[in-house]
Point group: C2
Chain length 613, copies 2
């Protein structure tokens, strides 16, 4: 096989623009709770994680895909090089950036988590599943565990000595978490006997650590049916003694691993708990039947992580396509297409290639701005928490509203952007010689796991729209409205800002239509239109962030001398915003019209009418 | 690895509806040039090829993907079972259906070719590349070869004793075929010495046949640059004697095979011609420098074949997702979602699953109707050729206009439909246990080979729109106009037919805009808007075919007793048409508006502004 080159790519200028110029990251730096963080520290993270991604995780992406995982003697073996990468990751402190100082971390803003996840996922989506899940599981124990549990588990989980997973899905249940049958039976010593089978457990087993801490949703004997009867348990692969040392096996076995379209280096396991009747777990914290709320702590973070996976993969796909388009010579310039002796030009000179590149650029950069905006809402909420409750609530509300948007839009778009990257490469893009075909395969799972994109859309329209009496959604529209009002007469962007205004207005009207459906009992329209509404909202939000970026860029560019290298960068921001405003934002209105027609054909058709087979 | 089940699926009722009810196939049966073909013969083909696809090629799809091809001692070894399938294919007469009786075939209508290709490609896209290319190469010799060439090559190529390929692409040229450097030097005996390297040669070598006949585009010494200087040569892998027997090797060697995202069982070869200076070819026919025209005979057929590949794969993906949705129980009915004790229901009962299913159904069936309509235009042109030149020209013109549409739209949509099929399966769709992830990987190449979809779009707007003074495009719009006029007041479909009318009107106006760009020298807008225009035209055409299908179905259904099994089938036609008219046709107008804005941002942005890397 042709050797595939490590080609992880990131644009560090872009990271700095988004954080410091667009989102005013310095507002939250140098003061509580991020007193130890200044611009220099952030720059070190930007450069360090980029180097790590290029030098450590990136080079294992293609090889890990080709090698995959194996089950040997009941244990999962990860691909070559992964264990060393895992160790380097924790030695470099990359997974403890946002951990509190109490547990050995560096108490960084959440935006630093976003940045490191973007780079780790973009360079190796499969590898980053393992530490990502371990981190998420540790966070749950951090939030809900007893002090004793924290002491026994957190140092090892945050430090990479132990791994971690989240175990929700069961064979018969899938997305329907409330149908979980895994049982927990209280034992005389206060522990619980766990019995059941979980599937699709990412990193469910691997040989990079001495122990793996599973967080398992299970139903205590006699508990209510549905999600309300579920409790969350700490179920380590090997038992953990009271002093935190590791004991013998805990009757957690790997049934099998899945063979997949992508993220082949991530072990997706069937886990059997208590096949021999000797699996014990301890309740997270001290309260039974609150497992689903505890798990959602992890789920919300996991959903933002999926958004970052999509972003990282899509961004590297775009930058690889850009590189290829600049290097690959083919065909003559469009102005000389009738002259067979005209010189061959790099394909970036062909209009359709430029269109594809700008399309990818606009989507990638708009999604990035939106996800980091969400991260900054998180950090600003933490910064004003306790001093300005109203502002803190506003910021937390925006995190809530934007989470389903970024999870769905980033994951769906990542797949499409990878598709466009392949098309930009042409036939070469279909080959394993270049990284884009793997990116595309890896990206397909993003729209499915951590809650399918339809579940996200239902979360948005069924819960987030009306959350806090609708205040969060209104605040979102209000932020856009303020931007539109302030920039509708902008000399270069005014017309495109007005297009944004129209999109936002349409979005608000369509949200009202959902409210009407809810109140008038036309419930059947809600799931039929939810995905399209989510897309409308995502496109509006992304268009807004691109235009905001362009406005900031125009202002900064005006202050620069001709020929300053940043001028091209800033001009790129204007082009991306204009492209998106003119080619994507009009779709918002088109979608609203489609929704307003209230087409019910999918529920009117009978099952038999789909096909005669 | 979990054993993947052969799951090729087709809906035979649908084939019969499209051919006999929608397209009035019987018009051309039972008379010249298809005198030997009647409804019974067609039914035998429908049932026979479906059985062949399910029993012979289908079961080799997953295993061929897993096994792939290997080069052993300079020769390509295809996956297990392929040679037997090849032999069964030719023994069954499936590749000689449309061959003339003179060469041992059954002189079937082209629609029978479409049907068999759809089933072969849908069941095993990789396998069907080999016989597909062999057939295409033979057709070129049939059309342009000398009688002697036909005698020596056709019986073996049509009969499956020898394979065949088309060799266009070169490493430095890609889509820019005119940049080919492969050389041909006339030898004293009238043959030509061939030297050069060709890449991306599907079926470039394999071990299912004793010889492979390459059709090679090369430039005779002193010929003009560009495509006009190219000639087409017959270059067999092993030399062929005057009596048609096979002689020694012809200095054609396999440089390597590619490792790809999909169609892994199809050997994509680098072929070196004349590395030792002993490769000889013979000119196709007797005229030099007409190679590109000769090759286009094959290309046009190949483009329709790609449309059929997309259709076959997408159709089986849809039917597999439908099956899964009927079997898989998960979650409670939407009306009982708050009751955790409500019974679990098959996921087809969930509105968003129904939406995905109907979306796939509408696209698959609309694309099928359009491709078969094209095939019938071909057959009707043959039927009236010589007796009604005007009608023949009309039908041939529609084949020309529709070819880039079906190639692009079917291939792009196939990938999207496979994406939707994966999403319908949920996490299971990402696993190799089910066929949809392979369908998705296989389908990605369809938008690239046989002329990328942008090349198709440029062919449409740059050549086909204005072809014959615009007559062919006008006739296309005229056909839709007549349908709209006749059915705008249809009791159940009227409103949707009016939406089609609006789409067609918009399409005509956008075509005028292209004409204005051409005439006013705004050439730069043409490539930027071409893909979107092609989509508009494809959506209009597909919407038309779905509405026409629904109209036919409504009429037929009205004559049936309640409870007749066909009533559900016909109701499905109405639902598909309504869904598409209400959810996709509005996009035509939205796209027209976007085009009318004349956004030039992709060509205004500088190369440096794309990124700072």
């Amino acid at each position: 096989m042709a050797q595939k080159i490590n080609r992880y790519k990131a644009d560090l200028r872009e990271f700095r623009f988004v954080l410091f110029e667009l989102l005013k990251f310095e507002d939250v730096l140098g003061k509580a709770p991020y007193a130890g963080w200044g611009r220099d520290e952030v720059d070190m993270v930007i450069e360090g994680i980029d180097r790590f991604a290029r030098e450590v995780t990136g080079p294992l992406n293609a090889s890990g895909d080709a090698e995959g995982c194996r089950v040997v003697a009941g244990e999962v073996k990860v691909p070559s090089g992964f264990k060393a990468a895992w160790e380097a990751l924790y030695e470099g402190g990359w997974k403890s950036l946002c951990v509190s100082e109490e547990w050995g971390g560096q108490a960084a803003p959440y935006a630093m988590h976003a940045l490191t996840e973007e780079c780790l996922c973009g360079s190796n989506a499969a590898f980053s599943m393992y530490p990502g899940l371990a981190y998420g599981a540790a966070e749950v124990i951090h939030s809900y565990g007893t002090k004793d549990q924290q002491k026994r588990y957190l140092p090892k989980m945050f430090g990479g000595t132990w791994g971690g997973t989240m175990c929700l899905t069961e064979p018969q249940a899938g997305s329907d978490v409330g149908a979980a049958k895994t049982s927990a039976k209280k034992l005389p010593d206060g522990a619980y006997a766990i019995q059941g089978t979980k599937i699709f457990i990412s990193g469910g087993d691997h040989d990079m650590v001495e122990n793996i801490v599973h967080l398992v949703l299970a139903r205590i004997e006699g508990a209510a049916p549905g999600t309300k009867g579920l409790s969350l348990f700490i179920v380590p692969k090997r038992k953990v003694n009271a002093d935190g040392t590791t004991d013998g096996p805990n009757d957690v076995t790997v049934g099998s691993i899945e063979h997949k379209m992508g993220i082949n280096a991530s072990a997706t396991c069937v886990l059997n708990f208590g096949e021999s009747g000797t699996c014990v777990g301890e309740l997270v914290g001290t309260v039974e039947h609150v497992g689903i709320q505890q798990m959602f702590k992890m789920m919300n973070g996991a959903r933002i992580n999926v958004a970052l996976q999509g972003l990282g993969v899509a961004s590297s796909a775009y930058l690889n396509a850009l590189d290829y388009a600049k290097e690959r010579k083919q065909g003559s310039h469009v102005s000389k297409w009738k002259d067979p002796t005209a010189p061959r030009v790099p394909i970036i000179q062909h209009p359709d290639v430029r269109r594809m590149l700008l399309d990818m650029k606009a989507r990638v950069e708009g999604i990035r701005a939106l996800i980091y905006k969400l991260a900054l809402h998180h950090d600003r909420a933490a910064a004003v928490g306790g001093t300005d409750d109203k502002q803190a609530a506003y910021h937390r509300g925006q995190v809530d509203v934007l989470t389903p948007i970024v999870k769905s839009y980033s994951s769906d778009q990542a797949f499409r952007i990878c598709e466009t990257a392949i098309q930009t490469f042409g036939g070469a893009g279909f080959l394993k010689d270049h990284p884009v075909e793997q990116y595309c395969r890896d990206a397909k799972i993003f729209s499915i796991y951590e809650g399918t994109n339809h579940i996200q859309a239902m979360d948005l329209v069924g819960r987030k729209l009306g959350q806090d009496g609708g205040a969060n959604f209104r605040a979102f529209l209000g932020d856009i409205g303020a931007f539109v009002q302030g920039n509708a007469q902008h000399p270069t962007l005014g017309q495109d800002v007005q297009a944004l205004g129209k999109a936002a207005e349409t979005l608000g009207a369509t949200a009202m239509q959902f409210m009407t459906w809810f109140s008038s009992g036309k419930m059947e329209m809600v799931p039929l239109a939810a995905n399209r509404f989510l897309e409308m909202m995502a496109e509006t939000a992304v268009g807004w962030q691109l235009l905001e970026s362009a406005r900031v860029a125009e202002e900064a560019s005006a202050k620069l001398a001709d020929g300053h290298p940043d001028r091209a960068f800033y001009a790129g921001k204007r082009a991306a915003a204009q492209y998106y405003a003119r080619n994507v934002l009009p779709e918002v209105t088109a979608k609203a019209k489609i929704i307003s027609r209230e087409d019910k054909s999918p529920i009117e058709i009978s099952d038999e009418a789909f096909a005669t087979v």
